[in-house]
Subunit: 426 residues, 2 copies
């Protein structure tokens, strides 16, 4: 067997068990094709609800499930917890952090994205993004510690308490909007009930976006509805604002300096290093530019999908970096591999857009399904239903649904725990 030829004997390897990777694994597993799924984590994470872990509403285990358990039903699919450090295209081999290597017949790269800080990587330390469970737990700790610290300030410090309770979220997309709303609710309800020295008015939540409206993927009427709902929760929305500097406790927006006890980053993502692994062409965000079949233009056996890819739909539109697109791309790549093995032609990828939505606080959302635009409580019910529906695993659905009902009835955040303290204080 020549080293350089992709063969059907070598397994299909999928890098990443996010939405795209799992969708691909399911198609290949159902077809009985030998497949290896590699991920750095042992769990798949339902990222759209991760902001609720960061704001103490859900536990990590409620929105994550072991990859092995999810893929257990397909005996031809095996799971490897390891980190890819390089790809040898000529030898059709992956290099792994554990020191091993892995041959592939075909490859689907679905390794996702991290937050991008444009030309300021040093900001990452002061304004974390939320991509993993550990990120979310650290943010939860920072939010709750800010409240504890403000509560225990001595009388002479109390004038500066408002500074110590200013939370800034950068980025007005769905994640930023949902995060800002959830922080406002957490801080204000907790302040009212459990922190006698903190009043509602001490808490300040600022949502910053460089554009002229929030939720640019939605129609302007829904952006306005979202802005109004956020204002109702006390969130200050600052549009047309750019971050010019960031340091601990302070953020500069243009020439305006704001105190900020916690700053969170929900603006812009950068793809994983797949392009450099492959030596392939990438766009400005580091996403690998793929052909209409989602494979590399010069290598039909290597597919790049999800947030790692810069793809164009059959209708000429760029494919957005959202969960539904990732799932569709993953399934398409897997079907393309099956078609090619069966000697059939591979159709061009076409993204079907089911709609966009974002939730704001405990009973408000905006949703755009194309034929239907909703705001307020009906959109919120739709949002809850859709997210529960897509949450992997019957048990998780039950737990999250029960948690939401409980929270709705009691206003109580169920996971208000400070853990992973930097300096172990004991």
């Amino acid at each position: 067997m020549a080293n350089s030829g992709a063969t059907d004997q070598d397994p299909v390897v999928i890098i990443g068990a996010g939405f795209a990777g799992l969708a691909a694994a399911r198609v290949l597993g159902a077809a009985g094709v030998a497949t290896v799924v590699i991920d750095r984590q042992n769990h798949h994470l339902f990222q759209p609800l991760l902001y609720q872990v960061a704001t103490a509403g859900l536990s990590a285990a409620d929105i994550a499930a072991p990859i092995r358990a999810i893929l257990r039903q397909w005996p031809s699919v095996s799971v490897l917890m390891d980190t890819v450090v390089g790809i040898d295209r000529a030898a059709r081999q992956l290099q792994l952090a554990s020191g091993g290597s892995l041959r592939f017949g075909a490859l689907i790269i679905a390794s996702g994205a991290r937050h991008a800080y444009f030309r300021n990587p040093e900001w990452a330390a002061h304004a974390p993004g939320i991509k993993t469970i550990d990120d979310a737990i650290r943010v939860r700790r920072d939010l709750l510690l800010a409240l504890e610290r403000a509560e225990t300030m001595r009388a002479e410090q109390r004038e500066t308490r408002a500074e110590h309770l200013t939370f800034v979220v950068v980025g007005g997309g769905p994640t930023g909007v949902e995060l800002a709303g959830a922080i406002a609710e957490l801080a204000r309800h907790a302040a009212e009930r459990d922190f006698p020295h903190i009043t509602r008015n001490c808490v300040r939540v600022v949502l910053v976006d460089s554009g002229d409206r929030l939720l640019k993927a939605l129609p302007p009427s829904l952006s306005a509805a979202a802005a109004q709902a956020l204002a109702g929760l006390g969130v200050e929305v600052r549009l047309n604002s750019r971050v010019t500097a960031l340091e601990p406790g302070r953020i500069m927006l243009g020439d305006d300096s704001l105190p900020a006890c916690v700053t969170l980053w929900a603006a812009g993502v950068a793809a994983s290093p797949a392009a450099s692994w492959l030596g392939a062409a990438a766009d400005g965000s580091g996403r690998v530019i793929v052909g209409s079949d989602l494979a590399l233009p010069d290598d039909p056996a290597i597919f790049v999908v999800g947030d790692t890819a810069a793809a164009t739909s059959r209708d000429g539109q760029p494919v957005p970096g959202v969960a539904t697109a990732a799932k569709q791309m993953g399934a398409h790549a897997a079907r393309a591999i099956l078609a090619r093995r069966a000697g059939q032609a591979v159709p061009a990828f076409r993204y079907r857009h089911p709609g966009s939505m974002a939730t704001i606080g405990r009973s408000h959302a905006v949703a755009d399904l194309g034929w239907l635009k909703l705001a307020g409580a009906p959109a919120w019910l739709l949002w809850c239903t859709v997210h529960l529906w897509f949450l992997a695993g019957f048990r998780n659905r039950l737990v999250v649904g029960a948690n939401w009902l409980w929270r709705y009835l009691t206003f109580e955040s169920s996971a208000r725990l400070i853990t992973q303290q930097e300096s172990d204080m004991r």
Copy 2:
């Protein structure tokens, strides 16, 4: 006001919001006495179920609740998240890690215990105990990573796989017994279902105790029943064995050397540094020796309770270091403060022992209620009922109960997540 006199104007201060501290706060709160509860954490932890967090059965938030939420109903009780670093007895003042200080009228020290490694403090790094949520999450990570690593071993390493799946638990009390049983179940069920390269027989769980039987607090017949149940789960029980050396991957028991991918410590506790704060007499485990009213013999305004105290019950028996004793001691100290303020005599503390129990795996337990000794499924049902009953908070009871039912029916561990990886592998 003289600096040295305890006055009723200064609040009662409680250090620690474990079982003892919360019991004291409830009594004082119900009486409307100004009280401050200080804890390093923002949450109370139901420690008897912490081993289930470490073995992926429960989420941390299922067995923990914010101290502020628990004590919210008593307006005279306030909560302070801070760490005590010293006590100035003359000035009736606590020094806090935040730099502040706090005057007290009366003091209840309920700061608990950490694991004791006898004369080998360096063992702590290789054989962690499980006292906090962070401890439990780290142990969960180590257990699950051991399985992932064994699964991905290459063919030539497979002979040593058994070494990489040997889990050792030191200490045959209830915690050690419950931990060993839960690890055996987790590893063997996960191995059977999700790790095709690991067979049941690769997994080895060893429970070590220096005495001649497990569960010394229970009658010998129940110790034997527990040993038999553990054997049924495949746990190797080594009695009359002492740890003589510990290094990463290896443990010495007398002259016998055992491989050990994970070693956990459930043997012996050392009290918090209260004795040195107070300059008071302590026993060999660092516990402060208190009088029959649980106050310091030379200072009736300073009480020491729970695992921090070496107390003797009115019947002459030493008070054991268990949750029920901690609760009774905390409530007694609070009632003693109320009695003294009302000019009444303080009775000597009397420990009422409700019984002892330990669970082994998914349907077995042993229980000794004095008038009733149970083993097997009936004891297990009793164990479940009692633990759900005492779990703080109605919601937690529901979540844990539902989780147990789910796990019982499906054999599925709901929180099988690897987080807090030491080296972020991304």
